[in-house]
């Protein structure tokens, strides 16, 4: 989102996203699959309402399992406005979240144990490097 402004505060317990006229692609499934250009604007703020919890089962879950991630996420409330335009249809809304969460996570290659490599430039010190395909 090149035009979005993301601001984090309260030690990561609050996140504000301001996006104006962001070009998006709407993947429409019905009546026939299509990709329709659209533009959306949204101004949302997430506020954590509880402490972060460690979520996911990164060591035991298969890659396609919903729990194949390591999250540090807190329940949150999200409030703000959302509007969009697409193929002659415009809509706008302000609302509040029925459920929201906020935090950090890692998945995929970032779950693999970091490789220990010897850094020649660093006078032989061992450094840890995450695998990159």
């Amino acid at each position: 989102m090149p035009d979005a402004q993301i601001t984090s505060s309260r030690h990561g317990k609050e996140l504000t996203v301001d996006a104006e006229n962001v070009a998006v692609v709407d993947d429409v499934a019905s009546p026939a699959p299509a990709e329709i250009p659209a533009a959306v604007s949204f101004h949302l703020t997430w506020n954590a309402t509880a402490p972060r919890h460690r979520l996911g089962h990164p060591r035991t879950a298969a890659p396609t399992d919903p729990a194949a991630f390591l999250g540090r996420l807190a329940h949150a409330k999200a409030t703000g406005s959302f509007s969009g335009m697409e193929a002659g249809f415009a809509f706008q809304s302000s609302g509040k979240s029925t459920f929201a969460e906020l935090g950090t996570e890692q998945n995929g290659v970032f779950l693999a144990p970091p490789a220990v490599v010897v850094c020649r430039v660093c006078a032989g010190r061992q450094v840890r490097r995450f695998p990159v395909r």
């Binding site: 692609v25 919903p66 194949a68 809509f91 459920f99």
Partner: protein, 96 residues
């Protein structure tokens, strides 16, 4: 809808979706009909960074003043990722 910071970035430097085909999971309390809390919120794989998810409810008005109930699933992912071409990248993405 998908928005990304991919302007000027090669197509093969785009992130890869989570494994299992074109889909995403629905984290949240089972009492709300969602999949539970130990459920991946990101729609992209090989990613580490900030993630925010919100299911918003409200109303919408179209260009002809017709009113509708509106439900929005909006996710922000901002951080490091390994792209389809294997390169290390940084970016911000939204799934709406």
């Amino acid at each position: 809808m998908v928005a990304s910071s991919s302007v000027g970035r090669a197509a093969n430097a785009e992130p890869v979706p989570i494994p299992g085909g074109a889909h995403l999971f629905s984290p949240g309390p089972r009492s709300l009909g969602l999949m539970g809390l130990h459920v991946e919120p990101s729609s992209i794989s090989d990613f580490q960074g900030v993630v925010a998810l919100a299911y918003l409810s409200g109303s919408a008005t179209d260009g002809e003043s017709h009113r509708y109930d509106l439900a929005v699933d909006l996710r922000i992912m901002s951080g490091d990722y390994v792209a389809a071409d294997g390169s290390a990248q940084t970016g911000t993405f939204a799934f709406i």
